[in-house]
Symmetry: C2
Amino acid sequence: MIGGGILAPAGFRGAATRVGMRIADGDDLALIVADGPATAAATFTTSRFRAAPVDISAATVATGAAVRGIVVNAGCANCGTGSGGVDDARRMVAAAARRVGCPESEMLVASTGLIGSRLDIAGIEAGLAGIHPERGARVAESVARAIMTTDTRPKQAAARVTLPSGAALTVGGTAKGSGMIHPQMATMLAFLTTDAAIDAVGLQALLRDVVERTFNQVTVDGDGSTNDSVMLLAAGLVTLDGPDDRAAFAAALEAVARSLAQQIAADGEGATRRIDVTVTGAEDNRAARRAARTVAGSQLVKAAVHGADPNWGRIAAAIGRAEVAIDPWSLRIWIGDELTFAGDPVAFDEEAASRVLRGATVLLRVDLGVGDASGEAWGCDLSAEYVVINSEYST
Amino acid sequence: MIGGGILAPAGFRGAATRVGMRIADGDDLALIVADGPATAAATFTTSRFRAAPVDISAATVATGAAVRGIVVNAGCANCGTGSGGVDDARRMVAAAARRVGCPESEMLVASTGLIGSRLDIAGIEAGLAGIHPERGARVAESVARAIMTTDTRPKQAAARVTLPSGAALTVGGTAKGSGMIHPQMATMLAFLTTDAAIDAVGLQALLRDVVERTFNQVTVDGDGSTNDSVMLLAAGLVTLDGPDDRAAFAAALEAVARSLAQQIAADGEGATRRIDVTVTGAEDNRAARRAARTVAGSQLVKAAVHGADPNWGRIAAAIGRAEVAIDPWSLRIWIGDELTFAGDPVAFDEEAASRVLRGATVLLRVDLGVGDASGEAWGCDLSAEYVVINSEYST
């Protein structure tokens, strides 16, 4: 991992400014710009009640054409806003495209925040007219901060690899997401950049695969959202020479996405610790990931972790309802390194297990006993603070 | 609705005693006995990690043979207890059968409480040897209390109907369940009795149908459980004369089951109010019920209700991820009688909506705009108290 976040790869600039849609201080509008036409890939929420910007960006990416930038705001999701909201999103795209000097068809848009309120579109237009995209780590962090909602800290990651063919390739990214976070893309926005040269179809396949193993394995509260988007722009500066280079690029992309996913989990609303769940012995990888997500998303497991209570029965119960094949008689459950169940309950050091649960990152491991596949998921504990935050959000 | 709970119908007696497996004071072992051979039906958890008593009772009910009673304990789920737990459950069945004077194959068994701990089987055997099943409302309430875990109050219901053919028919029931409550039968036990005469196949079909619309529509925390069971015994005293009588019986059974389901929702762990969700305009009843469950189970909706925050966007987001057909442009959302969204946001009286959310029972209604089917679900708000309860349960 290196510094520089979303602007670590060559070929990108960024800018952020304050419109005032987010109540908290600081910037709430960001623009990410590629110096030239970039290949784009994206994955979006599976919600059937999705926001206007999602509809617009999904249509743009589906054409497979090159893209010049992404405009993002925080504080207002522009969702449930009817035809007026669609008009607002189009005006936001147009204003950003004017600023960049590209057609509207080359600008992606994303929004995050409260559902049902309208954008301050005049403010956005004024904001976009006045900003000047620049390079550098300081700017990347200002972009990372501008997309935050209830996040307590910005989320950035970047990786540089030397390809087997010899060239240096860079991937950068930033993400936001703290509540309404669940598998299949939650109220989570993630933006990724790379200097790699790759066609749109190949980039989309790669992104879909990486998102499946990373962002889709984060769960904070089981509430999938209306606005979730992961967007990836590739500047086309570094040639990928054959399958080995492609594999090295894929690994760097996954490392950045995984880091951002873990940062989202750790910063879940009200979270005091991150929960990393590893499932082994599954029938296939999909089942392993599903089981891991179910454990990471279980309210009772989350509450037990919060209370540092080594209550492995709740992990077993979550596995039981995950709708994946298990062998209850050879199921094994670990809290950290403590084996707590192996078909029968196992005598274990409860104090040691409780210490594991008090750590900043809690490792839970389950072997389903039916195969060789494995998977991971990331979540966080459930604190009374979560309830306080979410009882008072819109009022 | 009448009084008398599970002993309201003729033909049944009950008893309760204390073994000491539940930390809280009071009885924690109950026996429900039919005076003669009763027809039995039951539905069980869909968990793949299910408790020993569930395996045993499911096998007994599957034979279709007559049953004489049900033995239940609280404080220990007898789940995740390996082969020793299976032996314990069999000894519990044997002890209850000895007390009643019936073959072991005519006794059902259920347990609820902590996963992974072993039954105090010697205590249970001693307890069963010393109890004397009796009739009456006082006894029915002692049974209802003996099966409680984190429940704050006993749950009972009974209904008496005059059948079209002229006879009086009675249905009674009791249930427990407070946490680990979710659709598809959660940590919930429900026991139902009736004096109706009906064959086992017909009774099972009827029960399955009623459970689908009642107990399976309750959600407290999304955590389905290992021990959930609904058991129904029919004493065979009141003849059902044709389809009209059958329909009247079905209606009485559903009324009792629905009341118990609502009582479970209202007594969710940490709950301060019940949430009733009605979904209309759905493609089919199954989709309507699924959508209603998703809203009732949404952590963010539950937290918003707790904070009396009329944040209809969270209801829309829950509907969006429910994986049912919707028309976002004609979707309508009501909080009580306040229409808050109808394709576009609607100006509404936020103070009136907030008052609805502060009531003991909160009505949320959604019309999906794609069909004529409807469904209901019941849940409760999410309070900081829920987290406190569940951080400290086993330790």
